[in-house]
């Protein structure tokens, strides 16, 4: 059925990965904010071959009413892969994996959103993966965080996310689909870089304690880089309204 073949080697003799990156290199990232007219906030991320669109609605009145929380907003998240997003057609019905990823993304974003400012309301996040190439949950978190900021929702910090893992015996960052499938381990991490707070950490596979610590460090560093791209994307959207630069607060505060 599948045309895909397992690669013979994921890291070559010169230490380069299957797509020519070094272990600490991220895939090229393109971020855009405010791409949808009808959503309150929206963002688009292209990370390598990943293409993900996020729309945020709210804070708005919650339906059904029995879900209301009297002291804060309810955050609902739906992650969905388009039928044409993978090599083989994906069944459009919500799968177990999509439901689980929706839940972990929501839980990764919840600590950042100041939901107590919007009691009795709901914030809906719709994440549509249009093209998938590994690491879509992390890319989804990055775009969802931008879309929330674009909707004007109060947040403690932008949430940035990146995966690290072990491929061909080496710890690498930002795994692509082949590395994810045929590598030894995968460690997606979501971080609020300025607050040094981890909001998501999962692990698939086996890592030694040293490898885990190295992978976590590499993923955290990648998150900090992505956080700068996020700030840049927001500035780009609002550049017509502002003239001044953002203070370089990210590096110092995160240490």
């Amino acid at each position: 059925m599948s045309k895909e073949k397992a690669p013979e080697r994921l890291i070559d003799d010169s230490g380069l990965r299957i797509d020519g990156r070094r272990p600490e290199d991220l895939r090229p990232i393109k971020l855009e904010v405010g791409v949808l007219e009808n959503a309150d906030g929206s963002a688009f991320i292209q990370q390598g071959k990943n293409k993900i669109l996020v729309g945020v609605f709210g804070p708005r009145e919650i339906h059904p009413k029995h879900m209301v929380l009297p002291d804060r907003a309810v955050i609902r998240c739906r992650y969905r892969m388009a039928p044409f997003s993978t090599e083989e057609r994906k069944n459009p019905a919500p799968s177990r994996r999509e439901i689980e990823i929706s839940k972990v993304i929501r839980e990764a974003l919840e600590p950042a959103v100041m939901s107590e400012y919007y009691p009795r309301t709901v914030i809906d996040i719709f994440i549509e993966a249009l093209q998938c190439d590994g690491g879509t949950r992390c890319a989804g978190i990055v775009a969802a965080s931008l879309a929330l900021a674009d909707a004007g929702i109060s947040m403690k910090e932008l949430v940035s996310a990146c995966s690290a893992g072990k491929v061909g015996g080496q710890v690498v960052v930002d795994l692509c689909d082949l590395e994810d499938k045929y590598g030894e381990a995968d460690l997606p991490v979501a971080l609020m870089p300025n607050l040094s707070a981890v909001t998501l950490i999962q692990m698939d596979g086996k890592l030694s304690r040293e490898e885990f610590e190295k992978a976590l460090d590499m993923a955290s560093e990648a998150c900090r880089q992505i956080r700068n791209f996020q700030a840049e994307a927001l500035r780009h959207k609002y550049q017509g309204m502002v003239d001044t630069e953002e203070p370089p607060a990210t590096g110092e505060a995160s240490k």
Binding site: D40, G41, F57, G58, P59, R60, E61, P70, D71, A112, M114, Y118, P119, R120, T121, A149, D150, A151, G152, I153, S154, M155, K156, E157, L158, M192, P193, N194, L195, R227, Q230, A231, L234, R235, Y238, M241, V242, T244, E245, E246, P247, A249, T250, E252, A253
Partner: protein
């Protein structure tokens, strides 16, 4: 030398008494910030609007412009994109969806000058509906009426409305018999189709 120093001191004293030191806002210190941008520490500033403080540091919680007020030693963020939410003191326009004996439920469709993308539900109690005593809500507003009201409070997320005020009240009313729009004849509302007369708490620009 001594005289000279005293003289200089006096001049300084006179100058400082004439014009007390009042540092102005420095608009040049506006900075573009995103959620989580560090704005300073609590020893420098107090955390103003659009900011929060944690572990002795002040951060922005909006996308916007951070301004520092040196006279008040405060830093605040003016958001670039505030969500449209009913806030205390704002005027709203909505439609009555349920009118009971003492309470009316109103679907808020316009908040200030902005249309709300999805309606919010507000509650109007009879005690906040009119400066006079009203016996029943049917004398204030009825189902399907369009009303202008003020947000009295949003405590616990419940939007409580009031229509006490000349510009507040029903903007357009419909006949409870036949649904035809009611026209204002002297101080009563009259249906031109079925000759029914009704009473409402009207805004001064009713049907205009």
């Amino acid at each position: 030398m001594k005289t000279s120093t005293r003289c200089q001191d006096r001049t300084y004293l006179a100058r400082s008494m004439a014009k007390p030191f009042m540092p102005e806002k420095n608009p040049g210190r506006e900075k573009f910030v995103v959620p989580g941008s560090k704005l300073g520490v609590i020893e420098e500033f107090t955390a103003g609007k659009g900011t929060y403080e944690t572990d002795g540091a002040i951060y922005s919680h909006h996308v916007g412009l951070a301004t520092t007020d040196t006279s008040k030693k405060a830093v605040s963020v003016v958001p670039k994109n505030d969500p449209i939410l009913p806030a205390e003191g704002q005027n709203i326009i909505g439609q009555v969806t349920h009118a009971m004996e003492k309470i009316a439920v109103i679907d808020i469709v316009k908040i200030g000058n902005k249309l709300s993308p999805t309606p919010f539900t507000g509650v109007l109690h009879i005690s906040a509906s009119s400066p006079r005593y009203e016996k029943s809500m049917s004398e204030v507003c009825r189902t399907l009426d369009i009303v202008r009201a003020k947000v009295a409070s949003t405590t616990d997320g419940i939007i409580r409305l009031m229509t006490v005020g000349d510009n507040l009240g029903v903007l357009k009313a419909y006949c409870s018999n036949c649904g035809y729009p009611l026209a204002l004849r002297r101080r009563l509302l009259k249906c031109d189709r079925c000759n029914n007369t009704e009473k409402r708490k009207l805004a001064d620009d009713y049907n205009s």
